[in-house]
């Protein structure tokens, strides 16, 4: 006997009270009526939402700078750091006259995240040297098709003057940590 939980099976006859079942039925009714007054475990979802953690990692966003130009330079560090290999991108050179659209000379012509692969670990955000990709507290909506779950730039890039608040993720401490190369964390990454 490894545990104390084993029970010896007895084939005992039910007593009269057990055989008429009525006490058991009444007991069952009492159990179910208790649930009528209990706090509900489900919520009225679109109207009210569950409280989520402060550093919740939801759908990604590609940030733009204060002029509305995309920050991403298609360096590929996010794709390299991604453990699920969910990110893919194609780089392109900025043409003349596109200075207001892209911040630096190189930009991502195609930037795709496969939301079915993504595990929302946040390593892309951590790897990004340009503060371009962040995870937000938005949920990724479900879809009936697999193709619709591959998010391109149209869904990921934020609109200028309609920026998504990421201040919860980009706290001053995080910013300082990322800028300062002397921290052990950044050193390790460089030496590797």
């Amino acid at each position: 006997m490894l545990t104390n939980r084993s029970k010896v099976v007895v084939n005992k006859q039910m007593s009269f009270m057990e055989r008429i079942y009525l006490p058991a039925v009444v007991g069952g009714l009492m159990t179910t009526i208790k649930h009528l007054f209990r706090k509900k475990t489900t919520i009225d979802y679109p109207k009210e939402k569950r409280e989520i953690s402060e550093n919740y990692r939801g759908q990604h966003i590609l940030k733009v700078d204060e002029n509305g130009a995309e920050r991403c330079t298609a360096c590929g560090l996010c794709a390299v750091s991604c453990p699920a290999e969910a990110i893919s991108m194609t780089a392109a050179e900025r043409k003349k006259g596109e200075e207001l659209k892209y911040r630096e000379e190189k930009y991502a012509a195609v930037y795709e995240i496969n939301m079915l692969r993504c595990i929302f670990c946040g390593l892309c955000e951590e790897a990004c040297p340009k503060e371009a990709i962040f995870l937000t507290d938005r949920l990724v909506p479900v879809s009936g098709e697999r193709d619709a779950m591959i998010y391109g730039k149209d869904k990921l890039t934020e609109k200028h003057y309609n920026e998504v608040d990421i201040s919860k993720r980009q706290t001053p401490a995080v910013l300082a940590f990322k800028q300062n190369k002397q921290y052990q964390h950044n050193q390790l990454k460089q030496t590797r």
Binding site: L22, V25, G28, L29, T31, T32, I33, H35, L36, R38, K39, K40, T41, T42, I43, D44
Partner: protein
């Protein structure tokens, strides 16, 4: 005077019919809400405030769905099946006494469509016709699963009708009448029949569950497990009729249980506070409906408490436990009548 009588009766019929349908419609909503609450969920709450328009949405859905009639089935009988089910469900409400008569300008208006002197027997007669709705529907579907479902359902209903009838005989012995109006009138004050007939009540309510095809006796339907039983081939509003008839039946059997065993429109001690007979009569309707709603809730409450019987257990319970018990109940009642000389 005669035409006034006819107009009054017609209004009564229409009102009872509409109330029956309305309560049945909202029973579907209540069923889903009660089910949700008993399972710690919220239930339907999108259609209208608190989901109150849900029955209308369901009705529209039923009407809009595609109508499929199997090619080889007998079309007339296929349509007749749900019609009989619905018709018999609605017919039973005729004999239920909703309250004592209301007197306006010296004319007495009874709140009962008709007080035929065979009250309960009429109910039994109509209920026994209700089996045909299921049998014809199951057979006309020309599908072996439907046929088996229909046989299963009718066997269950016939079996439990016997025990139901026998449990009523004990009640009739005690009351000395089979008119529902008189049975209800006899139970004024504390003389509810449940006090004198607890065993009969237990048998009756269990058989009522079986007759309405409600859990734990919902083998005829078994929404998921047994291919839907007799209404497998039905779609659209014809299916809606079958499902709706079940809820009308539930309302009517709640009304009959309240009338037979729980004093009908009577409420103890109410005579001390209200003396106006018309007011008492209106309050009687309120009390009766309170009782009816409690029993409808009880039907749902039981549904989410007790699991379904196996078919052999169902037959064992019906034939070998309830029928002997109800005969014993008749003997006990007879002995009681002799002993107390009531």
């Amino acid at each position: 005077m005669v035409s006034g009588y006819i107009i009054y009766k017609s209004i009564m019929v229409v009102v009872v019919f509409l109330i029956g349908l309305g309560i049945a419609a909202y029973s579907t909503y209540a069923e889903r809400k009660v089910a949700a609450f008993l399972q710690d969920r919220l239930g339907p709450n999108k259609a209208g405030p608190y989901g109150l328009l849900q029955p209308i949405a369901d009705g529209v859905k039923m009407f809009m769905k595609e109508e499929i009639i199997p090619d080889v089935s007998n079309k007339f009988l296929f349509i007749l099946g749900p019609c009989i089910a619905m018709l018999t469900a609605c017919m039973t409400g005729v004999v239920i006494p909703w309250s004592t008569p209301i007197t306006i300008n010296g004319v007495s208006y009874p709140l009962q469509i008709t007080d035929i002197n065979i009250g309960i027997l009429y109910v039994f007669g109509v209920v026994s016709i209700g089996v045909y709705g299921i049998m014809i529907g199951g057979w006309a579907s020309n599908n072996k699963f439907s046929l088996l479902g229909a046989l299963r359902a009718s066997a269950q209903m016939i079996s439990y009708e016997i025990a139901m009838g026998l449990s009523i005989i004990a009640l009739v012995m005690m009351t000395g009448t089979i008119s529902l109006q008189e049975i209800a009138a006899q139970q004024s004050g504390w003389h509810w029949n449940i006090i004198y007939q607890p065993l009969g009540f237990l048998i009756f309510i269990t058989c009522a569950f079986a007759e309405c095809n409600r859990t734990p006796f919902d083998l005829p339907e078994c929404e998921t497990e047994l291919v839907g039983g007799y209404h497998t081939e039905y779609s659209s509003m014809k299916l809606g009729f079958y499902l709706f008839a079940e809820y009308v039946n539930m309302f009517i059997s709640s009304a009959i249980i309240s009338t037979l065993y729980f004093g009908g429109y009577n409420m103890p001690l109410i005579g001390r506070f209200v003396t106006d007979p018309n007011m008492l009569s209106i309050l009687g309707v309120v009390f009766l409906f309170a009782k009816i709603f409690f029993f409808i809730f009880f039907f749902m409450w039981i549904r989410w408490t007790i699991p379904r019987f196996r078919y052999d257990q169902l037959m064992h319970l019906g034939w070998r436990i309830f029928i002997p018990l109800s005969i014993l109940n008749i003997l006990l009642t007879g002995a009681g009548i002799l002993f107390f000389n009531r």
